[in-house]
C-alpha cells in the first residue's frame, strides 16, 4: 500500500480506534485522536520530502506539458465493467492541500481538547470527515473523487447538529442540503463527461486527452464550476456559510472554513478548468464578475457583524472569493495566487476560529460590543488574533500578502480570451476590498482587545494553556513561514499549474492535443 493510500487510511483507522475506545475514557479518546493526527502530520512531511525529490528534477519539463504529472500513483481496477478505478496520486497542488489539511486537523483536535459530551462520536465523525477530505485531494478517478467529496459533507450535519450552538439544526440542515445540491450538479457534470468522452473511463488523465465539443463545454463547465462553487462560497450560493460556521463547534468551523471550502477551488481547478478549457474561456469573465461581488459582499457583510463568529464567517466568504477569482482569471500567476490563497486562508481562518473558540470558552460571549481590553489578560491570544487579522488584510510578511498580490497581479494581467478592460476594472474593484477588510479587521480587533476592560469578570481570565499555545503557535508559524519564505510553496505548486494553463492556450486547436 503506497504513501497516498496510507494518507487516506490513517485518519480512517484513527476514527475506528476512537470508535472502539470505551465512551467513558474521554482522555484516552483525545489522545488516540491526537496521536493519529500526529502520525498523519509525519506522513505528510514524508510526502512533502518525497514529492520534492521526485518532482524537482522534472519541474522544468512541465513548461510545455499538457497533462498533469502525477507521482506516487496507485491504480487498482475497482468496477472494471464501468471503467472505475481506485486511482490515487499526488501533484503539487494536492501536496499543498494535504499539508494544509494535516495542519488544520491536528490543531483542530488540539483545539477540541475540552469537548466532554459524547466525545467519542465527536472525534470519530471529525476523523471520518477529514478522511473524505484527504481522499478528494488524492483521487484522480472522478467516481472516487465524488465519493470522497460526499463523504466529507455528511458528517457536518451531525457535528453541527449535535455539538453546535445557536440555531444549530437549521444551520446544519441548510449547510448539508446546499452542499449536496452542489454535489448533485457535479454528479450531472461528471456523468456527462464520462458519456461525452466515449472512453468508458472515469480516469482524469484519460478524460484530459478526450475532446469535448464547444457546445458540450458551454453547459457542462458552469454546471461543474457552480457545483463546486457552492462549497467554495460562490455568490449567491454562499448563504449556508455564515450560519453554518457560526453554529458549528470550534474544530468543525476550523476544518470547514479552513479545508472543506478549499474543496470548491480545488474541484473547480482540477475538474472544471483542467478538463474543459474552452468552457473556462467562455465563462471566465462571468465568474470573475461573480467572485468580485463575493469579495466585496463578504467584506461589507463582515463590517456590520456583532457576533465574532459571523464576523469571521463573512470574512471567509470574502477570502474564498479570492480563490475562485484567481481560478476564473485563467493565467499562471492568478492560479498560483488561488492555490496559495487556499493554503493561506485555510491556515488563517483555522487560526481565527480556534482563537474564537478559546476566547468564547473564557468570556462566554461572542458579541463584540460586550468585549473589550482583553489584551491585558490574554496577551498570547490577542497577539495570535492580530497575526491572523493582519494576514487577512494582506500585510507583507504574512502569507495573505503573497496570496492576494498574486491574485491581483494575475487578474490585472488578464488573458488573451477576456476583455482586458473588464478584467482590469474587476481587479481594481476587488483590490479596494483590502481597504474594507482593513476597516473591519482593525476595528473589530481593537474593540475586543484594546482599550479598557469592559467587564469586571474579564479581569480574572487566563491566557492560553499549553495545548492551545501549541495549536495557535503552529498556525502562526505557518503564516509567517509562507509570508517570509514563500518560494517553497510557490515552487511546489507552480510546475503542477503549468499544464492547466498550457491546455487553456492549446484548446481550440485540435492538433495540439496529441
Amino acid at each position: 500500500m503506497g504513501l497516498a493510500s496510507w494518507l487516506i487510511a490513517v485518519p480512517f483507522l484513527t476514527a475506528v480506534a476512537v470508535a472502539l475506545t470505551p465512551a467513558r475514557r474521554v482522555r484516552m479518546i483525545r489522545w488516540v485522536a491526537a496521536v493519529g493526527c500526529g502520525i498523519q502530520l509525519l506522513l505528510t512531511a514524508v510526502l512533502a520530502c518525497r514529492y520534492w525529490r521526485l518532482a524537482s528534477p522534472e519541474a522544468a519539463s512541465m513548461k510545455d506539458a499538457l497533462l498533469s504529472k502525477l507521482y506516487l500513483v496507485e491504480r487498482v481496477p475497482w468496477f472494471p465493467s464501468l471503467g472505475i478505478q481506485y486511482f490515487v496520486g499526488v501533484d503539487g497542488i494536492s501536496v499543498a492541500m494535504i499539508i494544509l489539511t494535516s495542519i488544520i486537523i491536528f490543531t483542530g483536535v488540539l483545539a477540541s481538547w475540552r469537548v466532554e459530551t459524547r466525545a467519542k462520536e465527536f472525534f470519530a465523525l471529525l476523523l471520518i470527515l477529514v478522511t473524505g477530505v484527504f481522499g478528494v485531494f488524492l483521487s484522480f478517478d472522478l467516481f472516487l473523487l465524488l465519493m470522497f467529496y460526499e463523504l466529507a459533507v455528511l458528517p457536518m450535519y451531525l457535528l453541527i447538529g449535535v455539538w453546535g450552538t445557536g440555531p444549530k439544526e437549521y444551520s446544519a440542515m441548510k449547510l448539508t442540503l446546499m452542499l449536496l445540491v452542489g454535489s448533485a450538479f457535479v454528479l450531472v457534470g461528471i456523468l456527462a463527461l464520462y458519456h461525452g468522452a466515449g472512453l468508458h473511463t472515469f480516469d482524469l488523465q484519460q478524460l484530459a486527452g478526450a475532446h469535448f465539443s464547444t457546445g458540450f463545454q458551454r453547459w457542462v463547465f458552469p454546471m461543474i464550476f457552480v457545483g463546486f462553487g457552492v462549497i467554495g462560497a460562490l455568490y449567491p450560493l454562499h448563504t449556508w456559510s455564515p450560519d453554518g460556521h457560526s453554529s458549528a463547534p470550534t474544530a468543525v468551523s476550523m476544518l470547514h472554513a479552513g479545508v472543506l471550502m478549499k474543496l470548491g477551488g480545488y474541484g473547480a481547478l482540477r475538474v472544471a478548468v483542467y478538463l474543459l478549457p474552452e468552457g473556462a474561456k467562455m465563462w471566465g469573465l462571468f465568474f470573475m464578475a461573480l467572485t468580485t461581488i463575493n469579495i466585496l459582499y463578504g467584506a461589507f457583510g463582515a463590517i456590520v457583524q456583532k457576533d465574532l463568529k459571523y464576523f469571521i464567517a463573512y470574512s471567509s466568504v470574502s477570502h474564498c472569493g479570492f480563490v475562485l477569482f484567481g481560478v476564473a482569471a485563467l493565467n499562471l500567476i492568478a492560479f498560483k495566487g488561488a492555490v496559495i490563497q487556499m493554503f493561506s486562508h485555510g491556515i488563517m481562518t483555522g487560526l481565527f476560529f480556534a482563537l474564537t473558540g478559546m476566547v468564547y470558552g473564557r468570556t462566554h460571549t461572542r458579541m463584540i460590543p460586550e468585549m473589550g481590553g482583553l489584551a491585558k489578560v490574554m496577551p498570547w491570544l490577542a497577539t495570535a488574533f492580530y497575526v491572523a487579522g493582519l494576514a487577512s488584510l494582506g500585510l507583507p510578511g504574512l502569507s495573505g500578502f503573497i496570496a492576494e498580490s498574486h491574485v491581483f497581479l494575475g487578474g490585472f494581467f488578464g488573458n488573451p480570451w477576456m476583455n482586458g478592460l473588464v478584467t482590469r476594472t474587476l481587479t481594481i474593484i476587488a483590490t479596494l476590498s483590502i481597504v474594507v477588510t482593513a476597516v473591519y479587521v482593525l476595528r473589530g480587533l481593537a474593540k475586543v482587545f484594546q482599550g479598557p476592560i469592559t467587564d469586571r469578570h474579564f479581569e480574572k481570565l487566563t491566557d492560553a494553556d499549553p495545548s492551545e499555545k501549541i495549536a495557535t503557535g503552529l498556525l502562526m508559524a505557518t503564516l509567517f513561514f509562507v509570508g517570509l519564505m514563500p518560494w517553497f510553496l510557490i515552487n511546489l505548486v507552480e510546475s503542477s499549474l503549468m499544464p492547466i494553463v498550457n491546455r487553456l492556450h492549446a484548446s481550440g486547436m485540435a492538433a495540439a492535443w496529441h
Binding site: P80, S81, L158, L187
Partner: protein
C-alpha cells in the same frame, strides 16, 4: 431440475400449513424456523443451479441470468421478512398486538407469494405470467389485513384488494388484447408478431397502468400510503421490498420480453414517469408523521429511480436495476427491521417517538442511520453506488435534465431521512427512557443488514457478478 427452488418453497408452504394443525400453541414457534429452512434450502438450490439457463414445460418456464438474480433476491427478502415477523407473531414483542397470530397461515401465505414471484420472472407464456402475478399479489391482500379487529389494518387490506383487483383487471384486459392481436400466448412469439399501432398502444397503456400500480409509479401510487401504514410492520417491510421487486420483474417481462423493439420511442414517457414519481414521492414524504407512511412515500420515490434503468434498453441498465434492487432490498429491510423492533418494544409508530434512540440503544440507532443514509445515496454506503450507476444510464441516454432532477431529488430525500436521524441523535430522550431489549435473532439480522450496506457498494464483486450474468441478455432476447 429447473423448477426445484419453486417446488421447495411450495413444499415448505404446504408443510407449514399442515404442521400447524398438529402443533400445540407453544410448538408453533417452530413454524418460523420451518419457513426459514425452506427458503434457505431454495436459496441454496438456486445458488447452486449453475449455469442458470434452460427451459421446461414446453417453453413456458425459463431460466436465465436475470431470472436467477431475481429469484435469489425474492428468497433473501422472504427470509429476512420471516425473521422480522417471528418476534411479533410468537408473542415475543413487549407490546403485544391484539388480533395477531395464526402463524401457520401467515408463513404459508408469505411462502405462496414468494413462489408466485419466482414463477413470475420465469414465465414465458401469457397465462403463466398472469397466474403467477396473481399468486404473488393475492396473499399480500390478506397479509395486509392481518391484524384482526384493527380498523386500520382492515382498511388497508380492503383498499389493497379493491385497487389490486382493478389493476389485475387492467392487466388481464391488456394481455387479452395482445392475444387478440397476435394469436399467440408464448411471449417470444408475441414479441415477434407484435406491430406498432393503436391497438398495441391501448394494450401497452393498460399493462403499464397495471405494472405501475405494482411498482407504485405516479400516478398509480395512491394506494401505497394507506396500505403501508395500516398493515402490520413486517408485512409493510415485505410490501416495500418484495412486492416492488415483483413489480419490477413484471415490468422486465413486459418491457423486454413482450414489447421488445416496439419500445424504442418510449424514452420520453419513461423519463417523465420517472421524474414525476421521484419528485412526488419525495415532496409528500417531507410532511409525513407516521413512519410507515413515510416509508411508503420513500418507497414510491425509489421506484422512480428504478425506472431510470429502462432508458435506452441497454445491458448496463439491466445490470444497474438489478444491482440497485439488491441494494434497495438490503437497505429497506435494515430500516424496516429497526422499525419493526421499535414498534414491538414500544408500540409507537410516529417519527417523533424515535427521540433519543441513540442514547438508549446506540447500536440499533446506528444501524437505522446507516440504512437511512444508504437510502439517501450517501457514500460510502451502497445506496450511493447503486444510484450512481442508475443515473449513469439516464446520462447515457442523453437526458441530462433527468439526471439533474434525480440527483436533486436524492438531496431532497436526505432532508426527510435526516429528520429521523435528528430525532434519534439530536433530540433529548423521553423522561425515564431506558435501554430496550432486542432478541438475538433480530439483533443479528439488523447487524448483518447494516454491515452489508457498507460492503455491497465497496466490494466490486456484487455488481460485477450481476453484470456478468446479464451481459448480452437483451441481445439474446431480441434474436
Amino acid at each position: 431440475m429447473l423448477m426445484l427452488p419453486e417446488i421447495i418453497v411450495i413444499a415448505a408452504a404446504v408443510a407449514v400449513l399442515i404442521l400447524d394443525l398438529f402443533l400445540t400453541e407453544r410448538g408453533r414457534a417452530a413454524l418460523a424456523y420451518m419457513a426459514m429452512g425452506g427458503l434457505a434450502a431454495a436459496f441454496l438450490a438456486t445458488l447452486l443451479a449453475a449455469p442458470p439457463a434452460g427451459e421446461m414445460l414446453g417453453g413456458r418456464f425459463g431460466m436465465d441470468g436475470v431470472a436467477w438474480w431475481f429469484k435469489l433476491l425474492f428468497l433473501l427478502t422472504g427470509f429476512v421478512t420471516v425473521v422480522i415477523s417471528a418476534d411479533l407473531l410468537d408473542g415475543g414483542a413487549r407490546v403485544r398486538m391484539r388480533g395477531i397470530g395464526f402463524r401457520g397461515e401467515y408463513y404459508c401465505l408469505l411462502l405462496f407469494s414468494i413462489t408466485g414471484m419466482m414463477v413470475l420472472i420465469s414465465a414465458r407464456d401469457l397465462v403463466s405470467l398472469y397466474v403467477s402475478l396473481e399468486l404473488a399479489t393475492i396473499p399480500l391482500f390478506v397479509l395486509a389485513a392481518w391484524r384482526r379487529g384493527d380498523a386500520q389494518s382492515g382498511e388497508a387490506g380492503l383498499k389493497y384488494v379493491i385497487i389490486g383487483a382493478l389493476a389485475s383487471a387492467l392487466i388481464l384486459y391488456g394481455l387479452g388484447i395482445l392475444y387478440g392481436l397476435t394469436g399467440q400466448t408464448d411471449l417470444a412469439a408475441i414479441r415477434g408478431a407484435l406491430q406498432d399501432g393503436p391497438a398495441f398502444w391501448l394494450a401497452a397503456a393498460l399493462l403499464m397502468a397495471g405494472a405501475g400500480f405494482k411498482l407504485t409509479i405516479v400516478p398509480f401510487h395512491m394506494w401505497a400510503a394507506d396500505v403501508y401504514q395500516g398493515a402490520p410492520a413486517p408485512v409493510t417491510a415485505y410490501l416495500s421490498v418484495g412486492s416492488k421487486a415483483a413489480g419490477l420483474a413484471f415490468l422486465f417481462q413486459l418491457f423486454f420480453r413482450v414489447f421488445g423493439a416496439n419500445t424504442a420511442h418510449w424514452g420520453m414517457l419513461v423519463a417523465l414517469l420517472a421524474a414525476a414519481t421521484m419528485t412526488l414521492g419525495n415532496l409528500v414524504a417531507i410532511a409525513q408523521e407516521n413512519i410507515k407512511r413515510f416509508m411508503a412515500f420513500s418507497a414510491i420515490s425509489q421506484a422512480g429511480y428504478f425506472l431510470l434503468g429502462f432508458l435506452g434498453a441497454t445491458d448496463d441498465g439491466v445490470a444497474a436495476m438489478l444491482f440497485y434492487l439488491l441494494v434497495y432490498a438490503a437497505t429497506n429491510l435494515t430500516v424496516f427491521a429497526c422499525i419493526v423492533w421499535y414498534s414491538n418494544e414500544t408500540g409507537r409508530e410516529e417519527i417523533k417517538d424515535y427521540r433519543g434512540l441513540s442514547r438508549t440503544n446506540p447500536l440499533v440507532a446506528l444501524a437505522m442511520t446507516v440504512g437511512l443514509f444508504s437510502l439517501a445515496g450517501i457514500p460510502p454506503f451502497s445506496g450511493f453506488v447503486g444510484k450512481f450507476f442508475l443515473f449513469s444510464i439516464a446520462s447515457k441516454a442523453g437526458l441530462h435534465w433527468l439526471v439533474a432532477v434525480a440527483a436533486v431529488n436524492s438531496t431532497i430525500s436526505l432532508y426527510y431521512y435526516l429528520r429521523i436521524v435528528r430525532q434519534m441523535y439530536i433530540e433529548p430522550t423521553f423522561e425515564g427512557a431506558e435501554r430496550l431489549r432486542i432478541s438475538r435473532r433480530l439483533a443479528l439480522t439488523v447487524g448483518a443488514l447494516a454491515v452489508s450496506q457498507v460492503f455491497l457498494g465497496i466490494l466490486p464483486f456484487f455488481y460485477e457478478n450481476v453484470r456478468a450474468h446479464t451481459v448480452g441478455w437483451i441481445a439474446a432476447l431480441m434474436k
